[in-house]
Amino acid sequence: MASYNLNEILKKRAALKDKNEEKEMDLGDTARVKVLSPMRQVMKRFLRNRLAIFGTVTLAIMFAFAFLGPIFYPYGQAETQYKYEPMVSSYAYVQKRTEYTGYTLNPEVKYNRSAVAKTNSNINSMEKNGQEAMAFQAADGNLYLLAKGSESIYTLSQSAPRKVAAFGSGPVKVGTYDGVRKSVSYEGEDLGSEFAQAAAANCKGKSGSFEFDGKTYTFQTGAVKKSFDLFTEPEEGFRYFGENLGAAFEAEAQNAKAGEILEQNGKQYVVISPEKDNYEVHSLENAEVFMVYTQYAFDTCVNSLPLSDSFKQGALMAAVGEGSFEAEAIINTEAFQKQQAEKALAAQQNTHVDVNPVGEEDAPVETEPVTTEAPEGTGEGEGEGELIPEGAVFVNARFTVAPSPEREDVLLISTEDGTPYAELNTMVVRRYNGDDTMDLDLKHAIRDHVMNMLETNAQSEKLEYRIPKQNEKGKNLYDESGALQYEESQMTVKRRTESEFVVDATQTRYLINKYDAPSSKYVMGTDGDGFDVLARIMYGGRISLMVGFVVVFLECFLGIIMGGLAGFFGGWVDNLVMRLVDIFYCLPFMPIMIIVGAMMDASRMPVTTRLFVLMAAMGIMGWAAIARLVRGQILSLREQEFMTAAEATGLPTTRRIFRHLVPNVMPQLIVSATMGLGSTILSESTLSFLGLGVKHPLATWGSMINSVASAAAMEQYAYIWIPVGLLICFTVIAFNFVGDGLRDAFDPKAKR
């Protein structure tokens, strides 16, 4: 407290004057009494109040923090912060292929759906029985031959039925008797109308037999009502329909089971059993391979290289047959790679135009939409829907297929000059989302580990390998020369089932920086939306103070007008206004504000409109106190002599009000406005805390506390909500201290 002793100063001054002028000051000298203007007196008294000074300083700091802070602080209130962070995610998926995938070789062959539907189970049973080939007759009557080409490759051929022989002991169906039309439709030889009459005479009941032409025929009810299937005794022995193939063939056929393949003179025959105990032998001479089934999946040596259908088919057939094939393929892989890289770079440069990168949380979608075949080898995907990148040039070239010299169970496809081009493998490694965008060497590394795990029966194994670096959009990063950039990744191969494995990999991802702990970059950390907390505190202070000032201004504006009218005019105006004041005094503030907030919620108001409505509502709710104060003040002032004098001089009403009355009301008004600022900020923060005030993404102190004040978060994020709460406290206290100090200064004798 600055001590200001008037006497001492005057003594000093007098001494100084004595020295200078040697002149004595008499009692009535005007220089002897120092008179302060009323404003300076108020100022002096205010400055003497320590609490008021504390309040003023606090407010000054708060204003600087809230209004100047954001200018210098680098982050905005709703600016999402991002970070690069290694994240463990499911990167790849490994499966030991057990299913066979079919590739159509000849699309013109019309086949029955049932013929291919059971291929996988057929192959399984063949493998179990050690069969090399099996044949069956499908519902369309055609014969199908499923034959093992080589390890993991099967071919499916179709042949029209060509009966070469028949045998068996079961009854032979002659035909069907139709009881309505009274006629017989014959399977084979026509037996004439007499037979039909005999059938008509005898076919009664469910089953039975009759004699005709010395032969016994049996009948039983057929599939259609009033129809009967007619059978006769089988002919003895083995019957050829064409060329006689000899007794040896006959014996072999009779010993064969249905579906078994016989060979005679280099031709294939199949034994089928159309009915119980009856067998037919068909020639498969004209069988045509129209589909090839394989467990293999294609891995190209160049990452993401698209393969044509002809290449796949050729490769598979070559693996079965002569070992070399000709197909359309992208041969100039270097050029392809370069093109891809350039495209990716261009795409990235385009994306840099975007203002806000979007952080991705789940598995990023790869840039390259190329899939060389159906993902994860489920069933009969035929490599359709293949997207061929623009600019990739397919040319005809010769390839050779041979078992890989280095790796087991792998077929290597090389170009004519011996460069490896692609691999066939039954251990399929793909990205977890099904894309085939991994480098071959990574696939090899993972595969080796999986093989090892299969041998040792281990549940998981670790490895370290490089994977492509990704940017914030989940796209691969390239350096200036267009080469892919890599990062080291810790991978864990985990067994999921007997034949399935998942590879978890650490990968640096661009993420929204949520709930970051305080650091040098984010002084108070970040919140659940990735917004910088300190920035939000600053902007929150701005909004809180702004709301306070606007609301108090509105209250004062309404209050002065209403109170002024009531006080100055008196009479019925006074009565009316004061009854209105009584009514508004009676309205419960908090419940009404809660209702208003809930209504704004219900009408889904935009946040800024909401802010204005909130301020207006608070102002309207609060004017009554000011009006009452102003009226009281004016009533007492009106009766004083200076107002009578003003009236006597004939001053106009407006001048009397605004020049003479209002300035005299000012002190009380300033005091209650200052106190009102504190309480307004308090109510606003309470409403925002309840979620009914200012809404996200606008920051306010109340809502910031609310966002971390749940039972689970309050302990962990105490460093956020405690400082914010203290800020509210200090601001309100400061306003109250300043208000108190001003009141004391304006009128030291006033009752508090």
Binding site: A598, I728, C729
Partner: protein, 330 residues
């Protein structure tokens, strides 16, 4: 006195009618389809007793929402005069039933709080006044100001952090400990509820203590500076006697006035404290009703609060006259 009281009561009734009109208008301008949507929601809620149309019909019958605003208001007024406030949407039973189920929890909370408020604030205020501009005065001033300026939700969060999360002395929310409450004896159940009242009582006491303390201090200072105190001291009356029989007795007049006035508000409930501590008092019920737009209960509660306010003012004035014979009521 009686004449004055009757006059004031009539006047209060008129004020109440206008207050309720403003509140009714607020309800009336609720976004149009909102009411319908609420009714639909209500009808599809499990255990719904009425269909959406029935709810709307009830609402229109009692609240006249389908009529013009003036006519509708008088419809409501007629129902209200007959003490028919309808069924709460949120609680699915009569408003008056919700009220009678919950009011005593709020009342208990406020009574206990008021007790602590008085026994802490008044002595502190007197002490501060006796040592004007001394350390304890400064301390009391700062403390009371801090209490006034404390956002209740912040205080509640701090109390929860310290006593519920860190020390685990109390539950975070709730009226009772659901694990053991049913197995306790009657007295044990009472103690269980009392335990859950500790933090709310602390909260409201801290928040409301500041005002009363400042009021006591100011009035005490005024009395202490009056002539008869100087006379008493000059006569050589012991300081104790000066303070407690001369000064304090006179300070009691304004104190009785405001405390008497706030007697009525013991019933009003503490909206935020009850909501945040999960006390099933009237304040929590009203908060939850207001947030979901439960028109019947909100109207009922606001009317109740308004009546309490008006009665409180009347009571304060009457008490003032009763306590201070110098005051004459016109």
């Amino acid at each position: 006195m009686l004449k004055y009281s009757i006059k004031r009561l009539l006047y209060s009734a008129i004020i109440l009618i206008f207050v309720m009109f403003i509140i009714y208008t607020l309800m009336y301008v609720m976004p149009g389809n909102y009411v319908q949507q609420k009714a639909m929601e209500l009808a599809t809620k499990p255990g719904a007793t009425k269909s959406a149309d029935e709810w709307l019909e009830d609402l229109n019958r009692q609240y006249g929402m389908d009529q013009g605003i003036i006519k509708g208001y008088f419809t409501w007024l007629r129902s209200a005069v007959h003490l028919d406030f309808g069924d709460s949407w949120k609680w699915n039973k009569a408003c008056t039933q919700v009220f009678s189920e919950r009011i005593w929890y709020s009342f208990a909370l406020n009574v206990v709080t008021m007790f602590f408020e008085i026994i802490i604030a008044i002595p502190l205020g007197i002490h501060a006044a006796r040592n004007q501009y001394g350390f304890s005065d400064y301390f009391a001033t700062v403390f009371s100001m801090a209490c006034i300026s404390m956002p209740s939700f912040f205080l509640i969060t701090i109390l929860k952090l310290v006593f519920a999360v860190k020390l685990k002395w109390f539950d975070l929310t709730g009226m009772v400990d659901p694990r053991i409450h049913d197995s306790l004896s009657k007295f044990g159940q009472f103690l269980d509820i009392a335990k859950h009242y500790v933090l709310p009582v602390i909260t409201i006491t801290i928040i409301s203590i500041g005002g009363l303390m400042r009021y006591t201090r100011t009035n005490m200072l005024e009395v202490l500076s009056s002539d008869y105190i100087r006379t008493a001291r000059a006569k050589g009356v012991p300081e104790r006697k000066v303070i407690y029989s001369h000064a304090f007795r006179n300070t009691l007049i304004p104190l009785i006035t405001i405390l008497g006035g706030s007697l009525v508000s013991l019933f009003s409930g503490a909206i935020i404290t009850e909501q945040l501590f999960g006390l099933t008092g009237i304040g929590q019920a009203s908060y939850q009703s207001m947030v979901v737009g439960d028109i019947p209960f909100t109207m009922f509660y606001l009317m109740f609060i308004s009546i309490l306010t008006l009665l409180g003012n009347l009571l304060a004035d009457l008490l003032y006259a009763a306590a201070d014979p110098r005051v004459r009521l016109a």
